[in-house]
Symmetry: D2
Subunit: 397 residues, 4 copies
């Protein structure tokens, strides 16, 4: 009989549903050394969190995260709250001896992220594991891409093109939310989705950004407050009364380029204004012997170009990454049966459980998250200045 | 507190994993009127079924399906065994007053399918629901396609191109299995995947095939018996001893064309020899005002062509079918977050529970399955003869 | 100084423009052993043919093809008239000792095609060359596909999927033309575009169809006579007076399957009702070791699947067929600079000139055209009967 | 009888073949008000230029451009020499009263480009026309895109993504050429292909870049001198003697971002190191009501996204830009018959002849070329400095 791994999750928004699915599904497909049990869900509103707990299948609910992270009968704390609360919860949990899985971003500032990283490293010395939730590392195609690049299949990496394009802010009538307020969200497209582009580019290539130059921009500076009236693209001629507006204080778009420590160059874009692109996280890597391209809107595929083939036979090859040979895939369905967005969360749960059982340091680590945070900070500093190159802090470590 | 809907599932192969995932996940994302509970898993081998029950999360296991379908504390019997056992189990369950979800094919012969349909219709009069598992009807893109066609968006349907292409038999060294034996499997590509192509084409268009003309073919007539040695494409020069071979008695490939009762024409292909195509169920429908194309290898998309637009602006539009407006999607993730193969099973569980609660007859019905079986029979008859047109039985009903 | 090759072309419709472009352009890019000169254009209407001659760059025009094909100062007769006139012109020209390039179809009946083939073979013995205009053999990607298949790169061919989809008859208001009259055009989609699908499938694979089973269908049986009023899809509510209608006596759609002499299977479709498909000639070949796919709507590309690669690295590779290694390409532009529809006509002119200079028998031959005609005849016979298999005549040759 | 327009072309490299094809073909498909005649080809080497003249169909050849541009029997001078000679030839021709078509780049420096622009504007006052050869403006899809954007179909432009990716320098063994020497070529990827990306982005959107920030990089700094030995990717283990190397003094890659005068943002990349990308000039424009995407590797298509459609029906629509409604297309083939790279040169010849006949100022003008040159200069200045924003000169005009 396997030992149970008792999980408490803090936070019950959209990411809570995804993490719940991960914990629920992972043990049904993977042979885990420990059996995770979904014990406590923590939220702010008693009725809301109780309803979520019932819906998602958590045994208990609570509104007191401090109490929960101290409980003896909890082994893992999974944090899916907004970024400004991560530091306090994670640090408390780590200090209480709990393994911590923390949703990205690690924190809203590098200062907080540094503290968290120090605490996590100290906890690691005591056998406590911590991991950050950049789940796009756990799409089979991106992990397979990393493997191919690490094997030298595309030679030396020279260029990376990474972009994360969404379009949910295209319509000026899309309402104001906390995600558009700097004091709550830290940043806009940059931190929300640009962070994924940076992490995935570095993960796939094994490279680290050394300096960046960028610009942030906000195209729609005022948005209607939800509940007040608004028209939308399709309802221009409405008779509705005028809406009240709030100030957007974060970026809609972040454009930056980066120089990796290896000398390779990267271009990065994070946009919530890329009309028609819903969730297009794309990374193309050009190397001296080949190239690799990934697109999250076609997440079961990977394109591979091998420049060592005869000249007349080269081409981008679309590999459907659903073969048993591919990372995590053998646990699922036969070849050609597609995986979706949420499978990354099952893979994350599996890998974190494995790391806890084996004692190996899981990745992405808090240090990885701190590095990404520093990259984003450098982009902001560049944008606030004249757009010139800015060094990424911690580069000499 | 919602009433529980107590489910027993018979069968614990690959489809059992998929159905289990459907039952497990559906209540976590949809607000169901009844709460399904995964109560009993039935298999043949006591140790095997107990292990599956633990892995997949069924409370009990059993090796006696007859006893289970009679139990008072079971409401639903879900049948995922091979096709030759469906009739006996389904009929017993229906007669015991259980709602029955039966994986496709309904049966291995039209005669059995007819009996099952009669029993199901009699049971329906007593409030007992039965449904067949053509889950590709429950991919949001195919349901959305049906909706658009029903609304007249592509006008009168004139042509359908439907194919289901796989390649797992390309290599002559792929071993013999029961799926390649006519007495066990009924037919080969025709019944296994051709059935999906027929059902999906009819579902999307709302049309029924009236007659067909076709050919079945087997390219590799002998295959090594697993455990005996075999080389594989990649190991031609092996020193391994010669393998023992078994006879393949079903089709590798089925090609047929059909005339729908409306006069529209269809082309159909089912192949396990379509090198490079892993799970490519494609349906393209050409109408008098537009066209629609679906490909299961890109299952979150639907292509729509509107021939009523200005001539210079027409084109196939790739709709990412992940908007809240699309069938089932609002329960899941934000737009652009992709669903996978198994989501159809959650949708199936949801819809069956809804039908049981509301008393509406769920589709696909056993009668739908019988019709598909008759189409396949007609194809076989055409192939056994000189390839001429053969009427689909039951057409005048 | 190269010798001139004096060309007369009979016919000045759309294909005349394409052939003229071929003759004009070929010597500017290829080093030809003989220099073609565009000497005489023959048409029916004196003013019309004179205008075409000036526009397209022919030195003289004529309305008397019989006189022209007898002229001593003509070496080549290029025939681009409708199919019902090919036999008479081609035979006269061959008997007058002229090399003949004849646009497809070779003839409107197999009987005529047989005579032409006999005459061409007799002429060949006297050093007179004849060639048929299936120009899609001269798209670099299709020629490269043939080369790869001939080299065994996809192993034994098992299945071919060939379709030629257009949509110019979708709108019932599209007017009547001679192409829709059986006495003029011979057949509809079958002979016009189905012929290309058959020839290209056989060319790429090197196989020959031995028997076929098919159906022809006409969805719109009456069409407005041009000049009389008609509405079109976009003008349903028009006040225009009712149009006069003519009978459509050819097929809109031809569906057939074929058994190649090798045992391989093919599916074929020719449609002018495939809404949204403009000029989609597609051939996919599935072999025991790989697959190849071509689409004329993406004519500079070829997709290649190699099933001998490691399982996790297989995929369809999109080769851009614009490298100097590819057939004909080195004469044109640098890699990645795309060729268009008309380049096939330049390649055809080049190859015919080469054949005349070297004395090698050019392909496609009249015999190739006769064979395609016989395939189409067999499809028609199958369709007129009960859809059963019909042997292709001449198969035993 | 139409008047002749007597053309002399200076330069007989690869672009000479393309321009020759444009002059040769344009009058065969378009009804031109004046009939261009290919009168004199000018080169440096008497034998070489005579051979080119014969191959391409120019009546005479010459090695003295100064004499030719003064001839009374020449109306148009077409300049296809390397960029460092454009100014001298164009100015002489304009001052001699010849209409001038000048291949891009206008010049290798802004100073020269300014002088040329002044001379061209003075000549325009005397009825002399001048035009610059950014032929990608004359792909039907890009011109159609401009038209749609000008009509407001995608609303206000917010973002542009433009890149021109090639890979011919990926292999370090690719030999040294004059294109890699700054004194000859002016710049590398930036001026050669980045210029196209800038011009096309501005043309499609109707916007002008106001400032830029960028970086240039050279990954392979030494390349073998042709004729000396070198291995190539595929011949690493060669026994060949070591090659002699030359210094690469231009950029392999240029990355920059731009702020348009309207406030819109652009990202730009020009690379000769983008492994697997042969000639991928791509522009995607995101607007407040829709988006447009073009890719030169699929040049007959345009993707259009309309954000004013119902939410569930939005998608990128792939328009095949071969309808008679599309720019220039009606002169060519039926719908779905693809055009290639060289058709832009025929369109250019046609438009220049029209402009000469009508007296309307043709575009792109020399002033357009000067502006692009200034953008590139600003990118270089940014790259030479710390990567900060640099104003594009002439912005206030």
């Amino acid at each position: 009989m396997r030992e149970r791994l008792r999980v408490a999750m803090v936070g019950n928004g959209f990411m809570g549903a995804a993490h719940s699915q991960g914990w629920r599904v992972a043990p049904r497909f993977f042979d885990l050394p420990l059996l995770p049990s979904m014990d406590v869900l923590v939220g702010r509103n008693p009725a809301g969190v109780a309803a979520s707990a019932e819906k998602w299948g958590w045994r208990e609910s609570s509104v007191d995260w401090r109490e929960v992270v101290e409980r003896d009968d909890i082994d893992v704390v999974d944090i899916v709250t907004p970024g400004d609360t991560h530091a306090e919860i994670a640090i408390a949990a780590l200090e209480a001896g709990k393994h911590v899985l923390c949703e990205k971003p690690l924190a809203n500032s590098s200062a907080e992220a540094e503290t968290m990283t120090r605490v996590a490293e100290a906890a690691a010395a005591r056998g406590i594991r911590s991991m950050l939730g950049f789940t796009y590392r756990r799409v089979p195609a991106t992990a397979f891409a990393r493997q191919l690049i690490a094997e030298g299949r595309i030679g030396d990496v020279r260029q990376v093109r990474a972009s994360y394009l969404q379009d949910w802010l295209v319509d000026p009538a899309s309402p104001m939310t906390w995600r558009l307020q700097k004091d709550r969200a830290g940043s806009g497209a940059l931190g929300d989705i640009g962070a994924h582009a940076v992490d995935l580019a570095e993960y796939m290539t094994g490279l680290r950004l050394g300096r960046v130059s960028g610009v942030l921009a906000t195209f729609v500076r005022q948005r209607p407050i939800a509940g007040s009236s608004s028209g939308g693209i399709a309802a221009a001629a409405s008779d509705a009364p005028p809406a009240e507006y709030g100030e957007v204080t974060v970026d809609d778009v972040a454009l930056f380029r980066g120089r990796f420590e290896s000398g390779a160059l990267g271009t990065f874009e994070a946009s919530r204004m890329a009309t028609g692109r819903k969730n297009a996280l794309r990374v193309e890597v050009s190397g001296s012997l080949g190239a690799i391209a990934f697109d999250l809107e076609d997440l079961n595929s990977l394109e591979l170009y091998d420049a060592t083939e005869p000249a007349g036979e080269q081409g981008f090859k679309k590999i459907i990454v659903t073969e048993p040979e591919h990372p995590w895939v053998s646990a699922w369905w036969p070849a050609g049966h597609m995986l979706g967005y949420e499978h990354g969360f099952a893979h994350q749960a599996r890998d974190f459980v494995e790391a806890i059982a084996t004692g190996e340091a899981p990745r992405p680590s808090f240090a990885d998250g701190l590095h990404v945070q520093r990259v984003l900070d450098a982009v902001e500093h560049s944008s606030e200045g004249d757009g010139a190159w800015v060094e990424v802090a911690g580069g000499a470590d």
